[in-house]
Symmetry: C2
Subunit: 222 residues, 2 copies
């Protein structure tokens, strides 16, 4: 959790178009944010990475870096320090990475593969702290949080009805735990909001750490 007023002096930029992440930042953390979706292509070759978490971290880092570069100049330079926050969420099932489904039949295949078993949801968050003064050092942090999720058995008719709601199509692993798929999940081990797309407690801890380090340095320079 963030100390009250900790971010008052900063412009906070969410480098994500996800309405869930926007809502979590505004409603659950109570932060005023500007939304600047990243234009990063999200096409890193998975085989270049040791595991799903490493792939996810690098995607989040690229998104944050791309948006931070835009925030440093032109119309976006605001005279305040800026905190850019990006995130990337994937589902990992027995070492295989599931992202957003291509189409309804791909969504059904994903849901059948998750039925009755356990998988991991990984969200990486990348933070870039852009100082107000041009040329002053930029600070970065990038971490991945893992939540284990257990599904009950899903019948074909339940999967078909769920796909008809349209909910799976823009979501990693083809489900939204905060929506109609909430009843699919018998238990989780870890952070719930990580499964939604933004690990709130971890995000706050990383922000405090990033600001704390900077504040300590500024103190040392006085």
């Amino acid at each position: 959790m963030l100390p009250p007023g900790a971010l008052t002096a900063f412009r906070i930029v969410l480098a994500s178009a996800s309405p869930r992440r926007v809502e979590l930042m505004r409603e659950n953390l109570g932060l005023e944010i500007d939304v600047r979706p990243s234009q990063f292509a999200e096409d890193l070759p998975k085989s270049d990475f040791a595991d799903a978490a490493a792939y996810c971290r690098e995607t989040a880092r690229q998104k944050a870096t791309e948006v931070a570069a835009r925030c440093c100049g032109g119309d976006e330079a605001c005279g305040r320090a800026q905190l850019v926050i990006a995130a990337d969420t994937v589902v990992s099932l027995a070492g295989r990475v599931l992202e957003k489904p291509r189409d309804e039949s791909h969504a059904a295949e994903m849901l059948r593969s998750l039925s009755g078993g356990e998988h991991e949801v990984i969200t990486a968050i990348a933070l870039v702290l852009v100082p107000a003064e041009r040329g002053a050092p930029v600070r970065e942090a990038c971490v991945a949080e893992v939540t284990r999720v257990r599904f009950g058995d899903l019948s074909d008719s339940v999967i078909d009805a769920y796909i008809k709601t349209g909910e799976p199509m823009d979501k990693a692993g083809a489900y939204g735990i905060q929506g109609r798929a909430g009843a699919f999940v018998t238990s989780i081990d870890g952070c719930f909001f990580n499964v939604v797309g933004l690990p709130l407690s971890r995000l706050c801890a990383e922000i405090v750490l990033l600001l704390g380090i900077q504040q300590a340095r500024e103190g040392g320079q006085q």
Copy 2:
């Protein structure tokens, strides 16, 4: 999860005034419900029960029974079978039951006691299936689901700021995991929606069981 259309023939009555439970039933389960808050006093002596789960189950059972009795006659008799659903949520910390806080200072005391440690959230659900025919046997089920919740360290200033939001006052344990307190929670083990106030997956499984048993019996009588 419920098979599509499983409850079409039933009137579903939620015996709870909780806006969170209403939203979970309507938005997450997609059910049409009538809301009939229970008038049960919720004053059972805790010392009469072996543990928090037993206390919680009996409170949920009393709520469901009271509402079901009203649904059987007068204006509420609707000619359809009715499924009455009640729930009760408590926080259990080292054997002590925390319910809704009495006032802000009680809420602060509860939150300080939860800071930096693990507690259990118990939600009991009670179902009463009232048949359409007067005098036909009523069926009941009552179960409790437990979720372990771990909090990060909460400073006094964070607790004060949280209490000022007003969010804690109508909630067991003085917090709402789905709201501003989401960032307090580093991890959970179990069902997230159980902490919100209604264990969706377990509720669906119990409904299927209750209806399944009845359908089997009806089959046997033909």
